[in-house]
Symmetry: D2
Subunit: 298 residues, 4 copies
């Protein structure tokens, strides 16, 4: 009756300093590991003989941060996942998820400082690597992405011509503020990718499309983002986007003798629209397994 199960150590907060020269570099990560395999006895009989403790997984994460490096996070996740599956007997699958927080150098007298940093604060870069099976049957899925990339355009967005029913009261608009906090994940076709370059190009494409597309709906903007990434980046098989519509409500100032032509808004908290879409290559096999347990993507 035991169905699927996994266990691991979540949110290992690894900070890795590279200090081989006086010009240090910093990588600031949140690493979660999950192992899958033959753990039935631990559940049904309390027998831990197949269970590598989560404390050991934590130790492994920190040791690998030294011995394998952490940059880029996709390689770090692959190294960890392969280790658990290949080197630990009862483990037949692993999921490694890593968040990376960006830092930039503090400027002193116009020059970037060697060892002092300020947290950048924008989006969190993410990866989720799934390793399934051993030996020649082993499957590897790499999803990379970002979250908390908050964007807004103050014009160039409409919402009109929508379906109406007896509960519809919304007015059409041909000029509104459109804002969202992007969560995006893209699945690579394989694991032979120049990860950093791919990430940078995809992030730039997402921002560029958000800015450039004259939007008739958030759905359309998301689709154009996804389509552009697939067109430009052959290494990407599929991209999923989840975007809350962060409503900016125009405030009625006529009551106070003031006009308000798209100038003063109340940024509302809840409820918010939530748009989720996936864009996929026609010729690419689906791989839902790569996305399991990832909140927010459908």
């Amino acid at each position: 009756m035991l169905a699927r199960n996994q266990y691991g150590k979540a949110e290992n907060r690894v900070v890795r300093i590279f200090r081989d020269t006086p010009r240090h570099a910093i990588h600031d990560l949140n690493v979660s590991t999950s192992l899958r395999g033959d753990f039935a006895a631990a559940h049904t009989a309390g027998d831990q003989s197949h269970v590598l403790p989560t404390d050991t997984q934590k130790n492994t994460v920190f040791a690998y941060a030294k011995s394998q490096g952490v940059d880029p996070i996709e390689d770090f996740a692959l190294a960890l996942g392969r280790h658990f599956v290949d080197d630990v007997e009862p483990v037949t699958g692993a999921r490694i998820e890593i968040d990376e927080y960006a830092w930039e150098r503090i400027e002193v007298d116009g020059r970037p400082h060697d060892h002092s940093f300020v947290r950048k604060g924008q989006e969190v870069r993410t990866t989720a690597v799934t390793i399934d099976g051993e030996g020649s049957d082993q499957q590897v899925f790499v999803v990379a992405g970002l979250r908390d990339l908050v964007v807004l355009k103050s014009t160039g967005s409409e919402f009109a011509g929508f379906l109406r029913d007896e509960f519809t009261t919304l007015n059409e608009t041909h000029d509104r503020v459109m804002a969202t906090s992007l969560s995006v994940g893209w699945r690579y076709c394989h694991a032979e990718v120049t990860w950093q370059a791919s990430y940078d190009a995809i992030r730039a494409a997402l921002l560029e499309q958000f800015a450039s597309v004259h939007s008739l709906a958030l759905q359309q903007t998301l689709y154009e983002m996804g389509r552009t990434v697939l067109e430009r980046r052959p290494e990407v098989a599929e991209i999923r986007l989840s975007a809350p519509n962060l409503h900016h409500l125009l405030v009625d100032l006529e009551r106070f003798g003031l006009d308000n032509r798209g100038e003063v808004f109340h940024a509302d908290d809840r409820p918010y629209g939530l748009i989720q879409a996936a864009v996929q290559r026609d010729d690419s096999p689906a791989a839902d397994r790569a996305w399991e347990t990832m909140a927010g993507f459908w």
Copy 2:
């Protein structure tokens, strides 16, 4: 190239007061709706003619809170989901998720007050209803559950006999604090259930098993919880549990001439173990569709 997609209004904060008599009742909900169907044109061409605005979904939620009631949340979710699928032409599927926050009456002079309440603060009750398809082919999945139920036992928990590798440094223990914040979801076999009674019985069983099982590992405790629910509640087809191991680290006080036999702990934040398990009836078909987009369950 557009793959699956859905959209809706998330986190409608509905408070429903029943006040037909001087003894009021309160239901405090967070309702999220998502619609699925033929929305390709909205993505690829910006054509909204099939898109029922998320604002309309919000209006519907509040109107149904009046006309259909909200108690229990499973029925409210079913009513909303069926309305969207059955009554809105382009909609072929819906997912309705509801959180409920519990309140209890304030006591005045030893008697529960008629219209004054204090938020109970313990677990959040949840449901996620999925409606798939129309007419006689329509499939309905009801998952109910809870989250943020924080439990701790101060003895009766061991962790020993585990697998060791070169990164293992953990000591075995035969008496430790075990604490977790439970997220549990259970999928019903059908939708003809006395929801409140079922919820109450399952919650009680979960707490009872946590308390009573002498635990050799959190995995074992979770499995016993799940098994017990399936044994006692024939209406449940499957149950999934996600449990962070909230580490309580024994503080070394010998350095200060004090012994510490399981008395003083540091409650650590991160990292934490994370154990996820599903227990399922042998004879029950899987239904992963019911769980999609639900964070934390695997």
Copy 3:
């Protein structure tokens, strides 16, 4: 040019189990210490010879949790504060702040379990003890309180007859939902108090007044709460209350052919009203020092 300064260790998460009998008890605390004194050289010259490390303060908190006990938190805070001021030479003042999270026993077969607990989840109990000076001049201030006590009354609340200016659009109401999340602190006249009994009586009085007072404004309710506490509890010199007005907006359902007489509300997040008031004995000297750095009270 250095003005006032303090330093300490914040948020020590102490869990103390009493297990002298099979019926265990649990106390779950968040303890923050701050020291004041002659620390100028640490700031101006980097000289740490007067600085007791914050790591040592942490060790002291955990050691005292064993040797002095933690129950009630006011006594624990007094013991810690007096130790730092009396026993550590350069320290001339201390502020100890403690939050306590309540737990209750899990029921199994109708009986409270000996060593299994569920977090209660309602309000957080707080104390802030200030020790100022040494020897016979030493002053001791004890503030106790609570926060996150969320209460709501579904009728018995009005808001009318208010001041109007050119920006006023609010309608008067004689029946509304009133809800708040109470933060309350009360300063004791002295430190010879039966802390637990005093806390229980004050908490009950606050809830009772919230429920019983027919409210013409949140200000009035807060004042009646404070006045009642001072009348009933001679050990209290002053009480401060901070209460967000958690707006519950009646939803217009007439648009959909439904009436809504105080039944369906949208619980709004932001903005919220914020009402802060202090009630004090006429004959009690002010003691602003006791309240410094406590967010939310004015």
Copy 4:
């Protein structure tokens, strides 16, 4: 028995777009207002005739965002505060607090876009303006500042030579990671300041000092930050700094045959050191009133 009291509308989320030309500008604010004055009757008798509703305060904030502009936030806060005190009869004092979230333009083809923005994500800029009294006796206090500026230096920080007692176990270190999330507020001598230029110069000085000072303790770094600001900016009377010591714990990798010379750290959550200091001009009168209710500063 009613002592001091104030009330207002907290967290008005104002987004102001300037769109007089195709090159839009965005200001994203969180505005809280509090009024002080003759409100005793509202508390003791429920008489609202002196009470300007918090809803009106909200309306005023949004109307002024249009009519007065919002840039810089210090001027917006001054305009709001003076309006309430000067124009609303029973109001004799006001406190206006504003947070500002920074945005930057999205780059498309190497050029900053006219109307598409990405949230910058770094520190929050703050101001707290206090207006006290009317007419020629009116006092005005302007505090400006920032919070959530997260900085780290990977070397150039020591902690040694500290006081030891029986609870001290910490080792001395001459090379550690020092990290903090800065909250800083500075009080201006008067209100005739070029706010933006002053803010930019102070922010730069804080970062520069953090980077440049070889630190013997966080206290010393904070003091040098404060001293430098006072030396360079004659318009500043006083500066207060609150800095959690975000501990980065060196991970013991020798157990796994790896050395770790300041390369791999665990970023711990709690507890954390907390250092608070104020630096003030010798010849400047104290003004604690300007700082009341501001959490975190002492």
